[in-house]
């Protein structure tokens, strides 16, 4: 009986959370309180079952969020100082930025976050094995290129086409990491340099690919033909029977969030993840204890490539419906920041991707309504990244000046590779 009630409450909360997420992502803000209520329910059940554990998990969450929070505050203060010194009102600017990013242009935040979650996951997943896939941008290009080709040339019914596009793109963008992975294993060549070089190669070749896929069209130069509508991802406005949903929003974001949870599950609940993290923490120890380190490195880099590829596919099938020759596209690079902010935790990556997406779209809104250029957000992003990643700075300040001893005693070195 008791079990049944728990199950029902859990089920109910899950439904509420799912609905809340979908509504929230479709810019219906009623979704946010629903989400919170749902999570609250689940936490209460946890609390009832095992008080100590529930409190502990809350504590450790607080601890994990502490540094990012401080980093955010510190960098906002510095941004304010910069704004004041260049003659703007910091409070107004930040208010506009936040209003733009997280309320007014929320839909564009969601659209920005979608590819960032994937690339962030790609880089973050590799972090866990102590690898730095800095060239995710390259695998992203491969993903877009393959998805475009399939979308244009493969006549298939919708669902199958989408599945094929995903599978083939993921496979090929994963294979794009085979040579860096092989070199890493066989010669010890650092993946930072090799994946970076591969990214440069991909970006050189992307122009050629765009030409090949119909980019000669004088009207849409630097753009390929559009992919067939069969390959388009479902729009959120078709999924949710409500008004005022931006027509560009699509289910890509749901796929992204789901992928993040799958990554989390793989890393923390399966034996593969157990081995990946062991390699990340102590390569020699893992090897001595029978884990095939080379194989893990190989597989991790390939999974990482596939995740970066997913970013490209989702972007093509969901939003752009074509590939653009655009050298300033930077989801791969921004993915580095997103992954670093969350120190490689897949769930954290969802939030940092939304933060980054929000800052970007907030910047665009800011530029529309004021005379401040959006590049202020680039500085802001740089500062946030620095003050979150260089977490030792707080310990440093503490030992130098002896303030707030207790607060910072738990900070150790950063856990990223």
């Amino acid at each position: 009986m008791k079990n049944l009630t728990t199950f029902l409450i859990n089920l109910l909360s899950a439904i509420i959370i799912t609905l809340g997420v979908i509504l929230y992502l479709s810019s219906h803000f009623i979704g946010l309180p629903m989400l919170i209520v749902g999570i609250g329910f689940i936490y209460l059940i946890q609390y009832k079952n095992n008080k100590k554990k529930a409190i502990q998990s809350l504590k450790s969450l607080g601890k994990a969020l502490f540094i990012p929070f401080i980093g955010l505050v510190v960098s906002l203060i510095i941004v304010s100082i910069i704004l004041i010194s260049t003659g703007y009102n910091p409070l107004m600017t930040l208010k506009t930025l936040i209003y733009g990013g997280f309320i007014k242009s929320w839909h564009s935040t969601v659209l920005n976050a979608t590819p960032l979650i994937f690339t962030g996951l790609a880089i973050g997943f590799a972090f866990n094995a102590g690898l730095f896939n800095i060239g995710a941008q390259g695998q992203y290009y491969v993903g877009t290129a393959v998805a475009t080709a399939i979308g244009i040339y493969l006549p298939m019914p919708s669902i199958i086409l989408i599945v094929i596009a995903y599978v083939v793109s993921m496979l090929l963008s994963a294979s794009y990491n085979i040579i860096p992975a092989y070199l890493k294993i066989k010669t010890g060549a650092h993946e930072v340099i090799t994946t970076m070089m591969f990214a440069q190669i991909a970006s050189s070749l992307s122009g050629w690919w765009v030409n090949l896929m119909g980019g000669e069209d004088p009207v849409h130069k630097y753009k390929t033909d559009k992919i067939s509508t069969d390959a388009w991802l479902m729009k959120l406005k078709d999924l949710v029977p409500l008004d005022h949903i931006n027509y560009r929003l699509n289910v890509g974001i749901l796929v992204a969030i789901l992928t993040a949870f799958v990554c989390y599950f793989i890393l923390y609940k399966t034996t593969l993840g157990f081995k990946i993290r062991a390699v990340g923490h102590n390569k020699d120890g893992a090897k001595a204890q029978g884990i095939k380190v080379n194989k893990i490195i190989f597989v991790t880099l390939l999974i990482s490539g596939a995740l970066a590829g997913m970013s490209g596919v989702t972007q093509v099938l969901g939003l752009e419906h074509r590939m653009t020759y655009d050298l300033s596209s930077s989801y791969g690079w921004d993915g580095i920041s997103v992954a670093l902010l969350a120190s490689g935790n897949p769930i954290g990556i969802i939030f940092s991707a939304f933060l980054w997406g929000g800052i970007d779209s907030g910047g665009q809104y800011l530029e529309r309504v004021t005379d401040i250029h959006k590049s202020i957000v680039e500085i802001m992003k740089g500062l946030i990244l620095f003050f979150v990643v260089a977490r030792y700075i707080y310990l440093y300040i503490n030992t130098k000046f002896g303030i707030t001893k207790k607060l910072f005693k738990n900070i150790s070195h950063s856990h990223t590779p």
Binding site: F132, L183, I193, Q200, K381, L385, A390
Partner: protein, 318 residues
């Protein structure tokens, strides 16, 4: 056949030097930094930052020499961030380097706007270092070689001299020996009462200086303005040159010149009618493919500085 021979004219070699110079400079910077124990993937960011400030200095004063100095100083100051983050804040060197690159792009974008109220590109400098081209008397009149090596612009000469200077520095001087030890066995240095931190800062700042020269070369010597993303991956090729050159200035020089040569050659190849069939993009990918090959073959035999990339902590608790 004639077509192939005609490829190898003086122009090919001057272009080679043109391409190699910034890579050589940045690569020597990378060598010094890594020999001191700090891995530096932020070379790209340093270069970008100083390229911008070289233009700022030149436009403000009209004098490219002052531009050069400001570019170099900017590079050195910017390198201090990397130094502080890795040495004092014990941040992972690769992570810090990645952050440096991101920070550099953001900062220049914003400053471009604040200072010149434009996005993307600055105005041209009134006078560039290219106008300071100087032919060394006698030497420059040697046929073929003279034109290539001794009728050059200032930073190219600086590049040639710095290869010599830093080779001597590493192998013959006290400071060079200390720098090498701080990258091989920092504790050995510290126990002798020589500060590892200072040596590592020295390495980082020298790399800032050299990247400053490299960046200035791009914006006020071969170019005449700063545009976003103008370093376009050269910092990473320099990193590959560091490895392929086995962590020595001469090796870095050789590796970079090979990259420069391939790059110069690919431009030439693009014009050959017989090769028109290949898309030009394949040629522009050539240098990167070459770097990967170079790394693939060089890495196994070369031995990086032992403690490079390792955090150094002296427990000092009062």
């Amino acid at each position: 056949m004639n077509e192939i021979l005609s490829l190898f004219d003086t122009q090919l070699f001057t272009t080679t030097i043109d391409f190699s110079t910034p890579i050589v400079l940045a690569a020597i910077g990378g060598v010094l930094c890594e020999r001191g124990g700090i891995v530096n993937i932020g070379l790209e960011g340093f270069m970008n930052f100083s390229a911008f400030f070289a233009v700022v200095g030149t436009i403000a004063t009209g004098n490219p020499w002052i531009g050069l100095v400001s570019g170099v100083i900017a590079g050195m100051i910017f390198s201090l961030i990397h130094g502080f983050a890795t040495i004092h804040l014990h941040l992972d060197h690769v992570v810090s380097g990645a952050v440096i690159n991101i920070l550099s792009a953001g900062l220049t974008q914003y400053l471009l706007l604040i200072i010149y109220h434009t996005a993307g590109q600055t105005a041209s400098v009134p006078l560039s270092l290219h106008d300071m081209k100087y032919a060394i008397p006698i030497l420059s009149s040697i046929p073929y070689v003279g034109e290539i090596f001794f009728n050059q612009t200032p930073i190219v000469y600086i590049m040639m001299i710095s290869v010599v200077i830093f080779t001597i520095f590493l192998n013959r001087t006290k400071l060079g020996l200390h720098l090498k030890v701080s990258g091989e066995h920092p504790m050995a240095l510290e126990t002798l009462g020589i500060s590892v931190f200072k040596m590592r800062y020295l390495g980082v700042i020298l790399s800032g200086l050299l990247c400053g020269l490299a960046g200035s070369y791009l914006s006020i010597e071969t170019g005449s303005s700063y545009s976003e993303n103008m370093t376009s991956g050269r910092g990473f090729i320099a990193l590959a040159a560091v490895i392929a050159g086995r962590w020595s200035p001469i090796g870095a020089l050789v590796a970079s010149v090979v990259f420069g040569f391939i790059n110069a050659l690919q431009y030439k190849l693009q014009i050959i009618p017989a090769l028109k069939f290949f898309p030009t993009e394949i040629f522009s990918a050539l240098p990167y493919i070459l770097s990967i090959l170079a790394i693939a073959f060089a890495v196994k035999k070369s031995r990086p500085p032992k403690a490079s990339g390792e955090d150094f902590i002296v427990e000092r608790i009062d």
